[in-house]
Symmetry: C2
Subunit: 454 residues, 2 copies
């Protein structure tokens, strides 16, 4: 298992750089075929097969039809073979694409997110094929995409294009978390997300700031727009109708949220803050984290930002804003509301000559699998058996493309995996715990067996 | 004259890079001595003489005592031998330190600002020494500093340290403008300026933006502070007591302002804007440009600013703000008012652990020579003789260290020079018109003669 994981980590399949993606897809497909999963590499456009770095990159498909129970339920495992960029490389203790093993850990970009989880799933199938004499108790499929880390821009098209091939009864999601008591968290939801770039045009070039009394400053206009979006003290988004479609949590969901663990003090220490917005704490903090949309400024740039000062009126100013959405919010409608908001402030955002440009960079909607979905219980059970204990989580605070599977196949997704916050996904020194690789492999094998029984 | 100017342009004396400053000071001093001005290179600390790139760089001092009229008035010529950085170098048509001559123009960094003006002054003195048989009608002094382009951080100390040496009755400032009708503008004032960096601390590192509902965003706080400083629509600065010390213009000043030329349409086209703040126009636009303090955002930076999106809460956010001040405003008092403003918003700006850091980067006060100063008329007369016509300007909208001369010597400064907006000071393809070099040389010679008579 470690050898195969190391092989995948050594392929620097960074989707943001369109780097080594076909190579990695081929390695995953080869590995699947070797253990007995019928795998192929599929493209949106068949012609892309002949290109070294096609965009969109291919998807690895895998399947085993149960010979004994061909009419059983079908599980679709969703994973991705791409990884985040390795920067800042100087903060890594080992080469990010080495797969270095030290004690109970294997290090490298993708070790946790998501190559470790993928290997565990393949190994779980390999194990069951041995136990069941070359057969499985139920049908399984794999979809391993290559663009998860850049917002899965082509996943929807792949799902639509290969609708028959990918059809399933439930999706077992790529990852999941284990809490500090080694309890597996079975998460049922993902928030939506859309990212916008706001560009404000000023004078045709940077000009001497002695003219500031006459010439409008684009950085000031940008600040004004940014401030108008959200009340920083309360966290409330101020765009008209922003919360309109959001449904309240059901009593069952509230109960589940109350039971979820969230170690506030550890989290605050980890991120270096003294308090949460609006002084949220306990249940309210969990509720907000899981259930509220967000508006976040992820970047600002304008004018001179080097050492000392340069007295100019900048010719432009830009902000990157990301909005997390909860289920029933549609990112296109919310983007329209944002556009209207800026228009109602009196700004012109019509065309190329406009003072303000609002660019939608990426967008996907959120989804939550209902608590009473029939597959939730079997997954919780399997996780309990493998990890010792398990708990359900109504939704992650983060985002993923779960919504597409619901929209196109009308199936729900359930997240289970073996990493925790110390595995540093997306950060330097990403790693996976070797004992957890064993546990999540056992958990996946149990899921396949229990879902057959269910 | 062209040969000597070329020699100076070829020395890349960029103060921002502490580059070739002693070399340039030596070249200026040598040139002065050659034409008969007694020159020396002076240091704040005598030990700096033995250092290749001393900080502060030296000042070039020059003087001629009138033999016939040793008790006459003393004119101090203020100039600088340092230049702005040459970037962006790719936009230059010729090498920025070539001194290339083409038709009526000599090109190069410093051609207009300020090496051309300096050469004209030296040549004017050389000419008069010939006319007056090795003597001058009145006493003259030169101070040529090497830090003007970085805000003259040591000029005040130099003036204090060499108070007796530099004492004079009037300062003839380094530059000035000629309008589109070839009329010389004799400017009497400079605004003050102070630049501040506002740093806002967020989480201890960039963190995943799914936490935006819990963690305060430093870029949002920064935007809020920026917006609170000024009403972008009216240009009014919103900091308490900001305008408290400002005196209204006298009727004479208002009359002079009304007579000043300001081609709004040409200016708007040049900077690519359709209208001025508050729809200012005509006399009101001139009054604001000359007489109002400004608050300008010259830079913003936070988080991710590359292509596409990265969903993070940034760990910090920074803004560069510059404030122009008019006479009677003190930059230290105004900085204190700014600090109080931020404190009153509820932010903690006390010490290193504070959420907000306010750094004063540079600061100097403004000054205006009164319209009835005895030296104004002679300079206007000399300018009229050299250029054909002249007009007085109450103040420039820009900044310079004129205030120090008033504060330390109680003398006023008067600006006269030969450049116009097409000379591209601070920009690529900076140049000086060769016929103007002749005119400003004649003008300076006239000033020396007329001030003697006055």
């Amino acid at each position: 298992m470690i050898f195969d994981l190391k092989t995948l980590i050594k392929i620097p399949s960074v989707s943001a750089k369109n780097q080594s993606l076909v190579e990695c897809a081929e390695a995953v497909s080869t590995l699947m075929n070797r253990v007995g999963i019928n795998s192929e590499i599929i493209y949106l456009d068949p012609k892309d097969k002949d290109i070294t770095s096609p965009v969109p990159p291919p998807i690895v498909y895998g399947e085993i039809k149960s010979q004994k129970n061909p009419k059983s339920k079908t599980i679709l495992f969703y994973n991705h073979y791409d990884v985040q960029p390795e920067d800042p490389i100087e903060l890594w203790d080992h080469s990010p694409f080495s797969g270095k093993v030290e004690g109970n850990y294997i290090y490298g970009r993708g070790a946790a997110d998501d190559k470790g989880e993928l290997i565990a799933r393949i190994k779980a199938v390999q194990y069951l094929l041995q136990v069941y004499d070359g057969d499985l108790p139920c049908n399984i499929k794999f979809i391993v995409e290559g663009e998860e880390e850049i917002g899965s821009p082509h996943l929807q098209k792949y799902l639509e294009h290969y609708k028959d091939k990918l059809k399933a009864d439930v999706v077992i999601w790529e990852d999941g978390f284990v809490d500090s008591n080694e309890k597996a968290i079975v998460s049922l939801g993902q928030k939506g997300l859309f990212c916008v770039e706001i560009n404000v045009k000023g004078p045709s070039k940077d000009i001497h700031s002695s003219n500031a009394v006459l010439i409008e400053n684009p950085a000031l206009i940008l600040s004004k727009i940014v401030c108008s979006l959200i009340n920083g003290k309360t966290g409330k988004i101020l765009i008209k109708d922003w919360y309109k479609e959001i449904k309240e949590f059901t009593p069952e969901e509230k109960e589940a949220i109350a039971k979820e663990t969230f170690d506030e003090e550890v989290f605050k220490r980890e991120v270096g803050v003294k308090r949460f917005i609006n002084n949220l704490t306990g249940y309210d903090a969990k509720l907000a984290h899981i259930g509220l949309p967000t508006c976040n400024v992820s970047g600002l740039s304008s004018g001179y930002t080097g050492p000392g000062s340069k007295t100019i009126i900048p010719s432009k100013a830009s902000a990157k804003i990301d909005f997390r959405l909860v289920p029933d919010m549609d990112y296109l409608l919310q983007f329209e509301r944002l556009q209207n908001h800026v228009k109602e402030m009196g700004f012109d955002i019509g065309d190329d000559n406009s003072q303000i440009e609002l660019n939608l960079l990426i967008g996907e909607n959120g989804y939550r699998t209902p608590l009473d979905n029939v597959f939730v219980k079997p997954v919780l059970e399997a996780a309990k058996e493998a990890f010792g204990d398990s708990i359900v989580s109504v939704s992650a605070a983060g985002t993923g493309p779960m919504y597409y599977f619901y929209k196109i196949f009308n199936v729900s997704s359930i997240c289970i995996g073996g990493s925790d916050i110390s595995n540093k996904a997306h950060s330097p020194n990403e790693c996976f715990r070797i004992d957890r690789l064993g546990k999540i492999t056992k958990c996946i094998a149990k899921i396949i067996e229990i879902i057959f029984i269910a």
